[in-house]
């Protein structure tokens, strides 16, 4: 294929493009962003106090990796996200499936859940600090509060959209109504549930940083806040990059998990 036809193919809506072009475009945008950053940081266009050079951030990464503080803060954050996310998901997944399957559960929970869902989590942070203190439990609580109700609603939606005749077919094959969630709704919605988890784990990271900025003695958000006080903008950049990298890894992890445990869903 000539360059010209590869280029014209890219202009056709929905037309697949070659793997080479796909990678090139992705790299190009990254290169533009990094190049723009270097240009702004190096040409005295923006004071170094506000925008560090990418090299400086890398050097800082190396320094903090050596003294261990980068790892301890990353692990501290990841731990809180993991605990909060698991606690939320372990309850939200089964409850959401029942909520989508049984109208009575939906009728009972919908009004409350839809009220709480629209409350900004940040407004609860002072309350949680008052109730729970500023330990790990408080940050876990913020994450759970931020993700649980969203997960619940999205998982209930997935359960509600299970085709009715799929359930009917299961009945005519001897499935008891009391085991419908276990035998039909759960396996049927598994790919959708994994997608919900993949999306909401990103939100968990957002709420974590919110919680750490307000009340924490470790973690990437805390590291950023401390750096701000010392005008160490390179460390702030490093913390942000670290969260991005962890997000990327988690996302790919969920994609892989979906391929492994739900290979039937394309």
């Amino acid at each position: 294929m000539s360059d010209k036809s590869a280029f014209s193919a890219a202009l056709v809506p929905y037309r697949p493009i070659s793997a080479g072009l796909s990678v090139t475009l992705g790299v190009l945008v990254w290169a533009l962003v990094l190049g723009g950053w270097m240009y702004l940081a190096n040409g005295n266009h923006v004071p170094a106090m506000f925008l560090p050079d990418p090299g400086k951030v890398l050097a800082t990464a190396g320094k903090l990796a050596m003294d261990g503080s980068l790892w301890s803060n990353t692990i501290a954050s990841a731990q809180v996200v993991l605990i909060g996310f698991v606690v939320s998901s372990v309850v939200a997944v089964p409850l959401g499936l029942y909520m989508g399957t049984y109208r009575a559960v939906q009728a009972a929970l919908d009004p409350l859940v839809n009220f709480i869902r629209y409350l900004p989590v940040t407004s609860f942070v002072p309350l949680f600090i008052l109730w729970i203190g500023i330990g790990l439990e408080e940050r876990v609580a913020v994450i759970v509060f931020g993700t649980f109700f969203q997960q619940l609603v999205m998982i209930a939606d997935a359960a509600r959209s299970v085709p009715r005749d799929l359930v009917n077919a299961a009945y005519t094959l001897g499935t008891k109504r009391s085991t419908t969630v276990r035998h039909i709704v759960f396996p049927s919605t598994l790919p959708a549930v994994l997608d919900v988890l993949r999306v909401t784990v990103g939100w968990a990271w957002t709420y974590l940083v919110v919680a750490e900025l307000v009340a924490a003695k470790s973690g990437l958000g805390y590291m950023s806040l401390k750096a701000m006080r010392g005008f160490q903008v390179d460390i702030i950049f490093l913390a942000i990059a670290m969260i991005g990298i962890l997000g990327l890894i988690t996302d790919q992890g969920f994609r892989l998990l979906r391929r492994v445990i739900a290979p039937w869903a394309i």
């Binding site: 005749d165 009917n168 005519t172 001897g174």
Partner: protein
């Protein structure tokens, strides 16, 4: 040996909604399907023929009359009444073989027994080599063949079929009709088959119940005594065409009534 029961429908009616918005879907339907009989209900869309199958399957509750299968009243759905649906209802998370053994597994049959059933019925529908495929990898016709195998592997007393070939192209539909006749010849299970395709009805049936629409009522019962096995050219037989014309007439006069 497979099981086979009769179906008795007496004065069944079905109403949807309440008050002024009530819709009478079925109005005093009575019909009997004998054990080992292949009965077909043909009628215009919306005449309630599918609803009747859902009532027999126990997937909907009737609002009047009585239905029995093998002398037993209907109390919810159960594995004694197998059903093949118009929409594709294979479990997408299970392979073809796992779909077929789903019913036997629910009944608690052992692995060796289940495997024998899967082998037998996949052979019957000609899909033995697709046993490890997922439904998403199959064509529409293949999905319905697996659905038939899955229903039969559970050895229901009656098999209910709700326009199972309605979504298929005409070529595939013809293949599926021949396949169903062949499979049925081996089991002679009681079948109640619903369709709006007159030719399909005559080709398959021992008896055809012609249904009128809104509210659904049985208009006429025709006995189809073409010898079995029924092969390709039968649809061109003058007697076949005459019967087709009669049913068309019954359904058309139906249109004129409105």
């Amino acid at each position: 040996m497979t099981s086979s029961a009769d179906i008795t429908i007496s004065d069944v009616s079905l109403r949807y909604g309440k008050g002024a918005k009530t819709v009478l879907a079925l109005d005093g339907i009575s019909l009997d399907v004998k054990p080992n009989e292949f009965a077909v209900i043909v009628g215009p869309s919306g005449c309630g023929k599918s609803s009747l199958l859902y009532l027999i399957a126990g997937l909907e509750d009737l609002t009047g009359g009585r239905i029995t299968v093998g002398g037993q009243g209907i109390e919810g759905p159960g594995p004694d009444r197998g059903m093949v649906f118009q929409s594709y209802t294979l479990f997408p998370w299970l392979t073809v073989a796992q779909n077929v053994e789903y019913g036997p597994r629910r009944r608690g049959l052992g692995e060796a027994e289940r495997k024998a059933l899967v082998d037998h019925y996949l052979e019957e529908v000609g899909l033995a080599s697709f046993r490890n495929h997922y439904p998403a990898q199959l064509s529409g016709g293949m999905k319905q063949r697996v659905a038939i195998a899955r229903a039969l592997a559970n050895d229901p007393a009656v098999l209910l079929m709700d326009e199972p070939f309605g979504a298929l192209d005409s070529q595939t539909r013809h293949t599926m009709q021949r396949l169903l006749l062949r499979v049925w010849d081996h089991s002679h299970k009681t079948v109640l088959f619903v369709t709006h395709d007159i030719e399909e009805a005559i080709l398959l049936a021992d008896r055809v119940f012609v249904m009128s629409g809104r509210p659904g009522q049985i208009r006429k019962v025709l006995t189809v005594d073409f010898p079995r096995p029924r092969v390709g050219d039968i649809v061109l037989d003058p007697a076949f065409i005459a019967m087709k014309r009669e049913i068309m007439g019954l359904l058309r006069s139906e249109d004129d009534d409105h």
